[in-house]
Symmetry: C2
Subunit: 506 residues, 2 copies
C-alpha cells in the first residue's frame, strides 16, 4: 500500500470515529432530556411515559357526565324507558295485542321510511377534513336553491410549486363553471359535472378557483352534493346543500297595531253552553272587539248574539282536537289565543303581555297560568332505531332571555298565545276525540319553541251542579264523554307508537 492510500484510510477511519462519537453524543443528549422530563414528571403526577395505556372513561363516570334531569343521554345505542318509584313508564307497543303487533311493526317501519325519504333523512354523515392538504375550500354553509347558481367561496391552491398545475372539480347534482374569462385550453368542462383547470400560472389558477360557480340542475327539496376538488396528489370534498327557503307568511299588524288585528281568540265547546256564555261575557269585559272563534260539536247549535264571534258547528261528538283544529284553521291574524270554554277572563288576563313576549323573543307559544296554577313540563327525546324514548318532566329548561319571570319549557296549560302559522303547522290531531293535552306538545317537538309566563293569569269557572234541568242533563252527558276510559288510553298509547315513532315514555 502506498503512503497516500494508507493516509487516506487513516482519514477515513478518523472520520468514521468522529461520526460515531457524534451519534453517541446525540443519543446521550436525548436521553438526558428524557431524564430531565422524568425528573420534572416526578415533581407533578402525570402519565407521560412513552408506553401509555389508551383507555376510555368507565360507564359510571359517563352516566354522571352526560345526563340531564337524571336521564342518561350519551353514549348509548338503544334507548329504554325505565320506570322508577317516582316515574311511570309506558311501553307503547303494549297498546297493541300480541297478535297485531308484528304486522303493526312492519307497517310502522314502512311509513317511517317513507317519511324519512321525504324529509331528506338521514342527513349524510359528517365530512371529515384530513390534515395537511394543499387546498382551501368552504367547510360548511354553501347553499343553493334548486336550479339556481351560487359562487363557491374559499377555493384556493397553496400546494408546492410545480411547473404545471391540473386541478379538477367534480359535482353530481349540478354543474360547474367559473366566472373567470379564460380560453378553453385552460378551463375545460364549463357547464358540465366535471371542471378541469390546466395551467402553469399559479395566480391564474387561483383566480379561476376564486370564481368557480355551482349550478343546481335538478328540482329537488333537500339534498347535499359532495363536490370534490383534486390535484394529482390530493383530494378534498366539501358539501353544497341544495334546498329551497320556506316562503314567509307574514301578517300585517296594521298602522295602529290594534290588538284585534293581531290576536284572535279561539275555543271549542261541547254541551256546556252556560259556561261558554259566561266565558264570552268575561272576555267582553276586557276585550270588547277581539274576534272569538267558537267551534261546537254539541247536539243543538247555539244562538250567540255577538257580532265579533264566528261560530262553527260540527258533527255531533266529532271531538276535542278536531274542534281545536277547526278553530285554528279559520284564524286570519298573526296570533291566536287559545282558551278553554270554562275559563274566566280576570284583570290579570293581560293578552298584551303575551303578545309582547312573542314579539320580542323566538318563542312560538307562550302560556300563562290558570288561577295561579303553574303547569309546565319538559319533553326530552332520545332517538333510537326501534322507536324513540320520550321523557316528560315537570318544570322548565331555563329562564327566557329578556323576560325574567318567564321560562322556556315544552308544554303548558290550555291558556296560551301562539303564532298562528306555527300552530297550524303542528295542528291538533282530529283523531284525539276525548281527553288529550300533552299530545299536542309532543306533536310539536322540533317545531315549537314553548315558553311560560305564570304572571299572566286566567280564571277558571268552578265545577258546580247546575240547577236548570236542561243544563243538568247536558252536564250529565258531558261527564260521560269526559271519562278517560281504558280503551281511550290504549288508543292514545298506540297512536304514540305508530304516529310519533315512539318506543316508550317516562
Amino acid at each position: 500500500m502506498s503512503s497516500s492510500s494508507s493516509r487516506y484510510l487513516w482519514l477515513l477511519k478518523r472520520s468514521l470515529l468522529i461520526f460515531g462519537l457524534g451519534i453517541i453524543l446525540f443519543l446521550l443528549r436525548s436521553v438526558s432530556l428524557d431524564a430531565d422530563f422524568v425528573s420534572l414528571k416526578s415533581k407533578r403526577p402525570g402519565p407521560v411515559a412513552a408506553a401509555h395505556v389508551l383507555k376510555l372513561l368507565p360507564e359510571e363516570q359517563l352516566k354522571n357526565l352526560f345526563s340531564y334531569d337524571g336521564i342518561w343521554l350519551f353514549p348509548k345505542n338503544q334507548c329504554k324507558c325505565e320506570a322508577t318509584t317516582q316515574l311511570r313508564g309506558y311501553n307503547f307497543q303494549d297498546a297493541y295485542s300480541q297478535r297485531d303487533l308484528p304486522a303493526v311493526r312492519v307497517r310502522r317501519q314502512a311509513e317511517f321510511e317513507h317519511f324519512q325519504r321525504r324529509e331528506g333523512l338521514p342527513r349524510p354523515p359528517p365530512l371529515l377534513a384530513p390534515p395537511n392538504l394543499p387546498f382551501g375550500y368552504p367547510v360548511h354553509g354553501v347553499e343553493v336553491m334548486p336550479l339556481h347558481t351560487v359562487p363557491i367561496p374559499g377555493l384556493q391552491f397553496e400546494g408546492p410549486h410545480a411547473p404545471t398545475y391540473e386541478v379538477t372539480l367534480t359535482a353530481s347534482l349540478g354543474t360547474l363553471n367559473t366566472l373567470a374569462d379564460t380560453s378553453d385550453s385552460v378551463v375545460q368542462g364549463r357547464g358540465q359535472k366535471q371542471l378541469t383547470i390546466s395551467t402553469s400560472d399559479r395566480k391564474l389558477l387561483n383566480f379561476i378557483l376564486r370564481h368557480v360557480t355551482y349550478t343546481s340542475t335538478v328540482y329537488q327539496r333537500h339534498r347535499v352534493d359532495m363536490v370534490s376538488l383534486a390535484s394529482s396528489t390530493s383530494v378534498v370534498k366539501f358539501p353544497v346543500t341544495i334546498c329551497h327557503p320556506i316562503i314567509p307568511k307574514l301578517h300585517d299588524p296594521g298602522p295602529e297595531r290594534k290588538l284585534k288585528d293581531l290576536v284572535t281568540i279561539a275555543t271549542k265547546t261541547f254541551l256546556r253552553p252556560h259556561q261558554l256564555m259566561t266565558m264570552l261575557q268575561s272576555i267582553r269585559q276586557y276585550y270588547p272587539d277581539l274576534t272569538v272563534i267558537v267551534t261546537d260539536d254539541s247536539k243543538e247549535p247555539l244562538k250567540i248574539d255577538d257580532k265579533h264571534v264566528e261560530y262553527y258547528t260540527m258533527p255531533f261528538g266529532k271531538g276535542w282536537f278536531a274542534g281545536r283544529n277547526l278553530a285554528i284553521s279559520q284564524v286570519t291574524t298573526k296570533y291566536v289565543l287559545w282558551v278553554d270554554d270554562d275559563f274566566l277572563f280576570i284583570n290579570k288576563t293581560k293578552i298584551e303581555v303575551l303578545v309582547d313576549v312573542l314579539e320580542k323573543t323566538e318563542l312560538d307559544v307562550v302560556g300563562g297560568s290558570v288561577l295561579g296554577n303553574v303547569f309546565q313540563f319538559k319533553l326530552l327525546l332520545e332517538q333510537s332505531e326501534n322507536g324513540d324514548c320520550l321523557h316528560k318532566r315537570s318544570g322548565s329548561f331555563q329562564p327566557l332571555d329578556g323576560f325574567p319571570s318567564c321560562v322556556v319549557t315544552s308544554g303548558v296549560v290550555n291558556f296560551f298565545l301562539a303564532h298562528t302559522e306555527r300552530l297550524q303547522r303542528v295542528g291538533f290531531d282530529p283523531r284525539l276525540q276525548r281527553v288529550a293535552h300533552s299530545e299536542f306538545f309532543i306533536d310539536g317537538l322540533g317545531i315549537l319553541l314553548v315558553g311560560s309566563c305564570p304572571e299572566v293569569i286566567i280564571g277558571h269557572q268552578p265545577r258546580s251542579q247546575v240547577q236548570d234541568p236542561e243544563l243538568a242533563a247536558l252536564q250529565k252527558t258531558y261527564n260521560t264523554y269526559r271519562a278517560n276510559t281504558n280503551a281511550q288510553v290504549q288508543y292514545k298509547l298506540a297512536l304514540h307508537y305508530f304516529k310519533n315513532h315512539l318506543q316508550c315514555s317516562t
Copy 2:
C-alpha cells in the same frame, strides 16, 4: 505543511470542486427542462405567459350561462320583474296607495325580521378551510339535539413532531369533554367551554382528540356553534349544528291497506247544491265507502243522506280558502284528495294511481288533469333584500323518477292527492275569500314538492243554465260572488307584497 495535511487539503479541494460541478449541472438541468416546456408550449396555443391578465366573463356571456327558462338568475344583487310582450309583470307595492306604502314597508320589514329571527336566519356564512393546516376535523354535518351530547368525529393532529403538544378546543353554545380516561394534568376544562390537552405523547393526544364530545347546554331551536381547535401555531374552526329533529306524524294504513283508511276526499261548496250532489253520486259509483268531507258556507244547510259524508257549515260567504282550510283540518287519513264541487268522477279517475305515485316518490302533492286539460306551472323564486321576485311559467321542471308519464312542477289543477300533514302545514289562507288558486302553491314554496300525472283524469260538469227557479236564483247569486273584481285583485297583490315578502312577479 506535512504531506498528510496537504493530502487532506487536496481531498478537500477535490470534494468542493466536485460538489460545485454538481450544483452547476443541476441548475443546467432544470433550465433545459424549462426550455423543453417552452418549446412544447409554442407548439400548442395557450395563455401560459407569466404576466396573465385576470379578467371575468362579460355580462352577456353570464346571462347566457346562468339563466333558467329565460330568467337570468346569477350573478345579481337585486332582482327585478320585467314585463315582456308575452309576460305580464306585477309590482306588488302598486297594490298599496302612495300614502300607505311607506308605513306598510316599515311594518313588513319588522315582521320579516321577526320571522327570520325565529327561523334562525340568515344562516351563518360559509366556513372556509385554509390550506396546509395540521388538523383533521369534521367539515360538515355534526348535529346535536338541544341538551344532548355527541362525539365529534375526525379530530386529529398531524403536525410536526414536537417535545410537547398543547391543543385547545373552544365552544360557545355548549361544553366539551372527552371519553378518554386521563388525569387532570393532561386534560383540563372537562365539562367547560374550553378544553385543553397538554401532553408530549402524540398517540395519547390523538386518542383524546378522537373521543372529544360536545354537549349542548341551552334549549334552542336552530343554532350553529363554531368550535375552534387551536395549537400554538394554527387554528381551525368547524360547525356544530344544534337542532331538534321534527317528530314524525305517521299514519297507519291498517293491515289491509284499504283505500278508505288511506284517503279522504275533501271539497268545498257554495250555492251549488245540485252540482255537489251530482259530484257525490259520481264518487259513489267508483268509491262507495271513502269518507268525503264537505264544507259549506251557503245560506241554507243541506241534508246529505250519506253515512260516509262529514258535513260542516260555516258563516255565510266566509270564503273559498277558509272552507278549504276547514275541510283539511278534519282529515284523519294519510292522504287527502281535493276535488271541486263541480267535478265528475269517471272511470279514468283512478285514485289508486295517485296513491301509488305518492307512496313511491318524495312528492307531497300529485295532480291529475281535468277532462284532459293539463294545467301545470313552475314557480321560480329570486331572493332580494327589498322583496323577492317570483316567476311563473307554464310547464314542468323534469320528468318524475319512476313514473315516465308524470312530471315535477310547482302548481297543478284543483284535482290532486296530497300528504295530509304537508297540506295542513301549508294551509289555505282563510283571507282568500273569492277567486284564488296559485296562492296556495306560492304559500307552499319551499315546503311542497309537486307533481302532475295527466293520465289520471276527472270530469267536469258543464256550466249550463238550470231550469229549477230556486237553483237558478242560487246560480245568479253564485255568479256575483265568483267575479274577480278589481278590489279583490288589488287585495291579493297587496297580500303577496306583505305576506310572502314579494316584490313582484312575472
